[in-house]
Symmetry: C2
């Protein structure tokens, strides 16, 4: 069994508000899988879930850890600098807080960062050195 990531759950203050935000960003909600308390989106090959922060904290039994941003960035790699600009503009229109406007990066790519209303940080990036197929990065060995 290979180790892998299949699902990311963001703890949020208001599931309905967060669901509207991520739908505005273009994530496809699974109406069948979702319930009022939890939303599931097909986010490329992984699932993005939105769940009440208190319920999630209790479920994980991790009270002491449950603050701030957590030092986690979730990234969407796209195929061009133009696509980075487009996704960041869409996020700003949807109400995201822009942390770093789009621009060249120190590693030779192009990116921008935003935060959602609950403080989760997203990077939208174009990496010209990486192979991208169907939204998935394929790393060399």
């Amino acid at each position: 069994m290979t180790a892998h990531v299949s699902l990311i759950t963001l703890g949020v203050a208001d599931v309905a508000r967060a669901t509207a935000f991520y739908e505005a960003l273009g994530f496809k909600l699974s109406k069948t899988a979702s319930q009022p308390e939890v939303s599931f989106f097909q986010a490329g090959a992984v699932v993005l879930a939105l769940w009440g922060r208190d319920a999630q904290k209790e479920d994980a039994n991790a009270e002491a850890l449950w603050t701030g941003n957590g030092g986690i960035v979730i990234a969407q790699n796209v195929g061009s600098e133009h696509d980075v600009d487009a996704v960041m503009a869409r996020a700003e229109t949807a109400g995201a807080r822009i942390l770093r406007p789009t621009g060249k990066t120190f590693w030779g790519g192009y990116n921008g960062y935003f935060a959602d209303a609950d403080g989760h940080v997203w990077e939208i990036a174009h990496n010209p050195f990486w192979e991208l197929a169907d939204g998935s990065v394929k790393l060399p060995d």
Copy 2:
């Protein structure tokens, strides 16, 4: 362009220590893509990256958000209750802090939670109601 998640970066105190931990869990390190300051793993269809917490915080321009766990759980969905037990045992051997031992969940599945040395929370889960193919969950519409 469909919205998607392609990469998750965990901010860590010690990249070498964290790299050894995730290799022990069975994640495949891309030696070609990695550097001493940053490790990249193919984690199923997404990439898992480990990067210095301070560098990441500065890059994202998100100082105020950069504390705690962030209310994010990264999940590995597996095909059976036995596989949940096996992955949790492997994590414990690798030095993970077990937050919630394996057991039945309120939603009809089976799971366990652990935290890595930097406080990032992982869920290992078997959901008998979801389709799993090559480590990726395929949601209904």
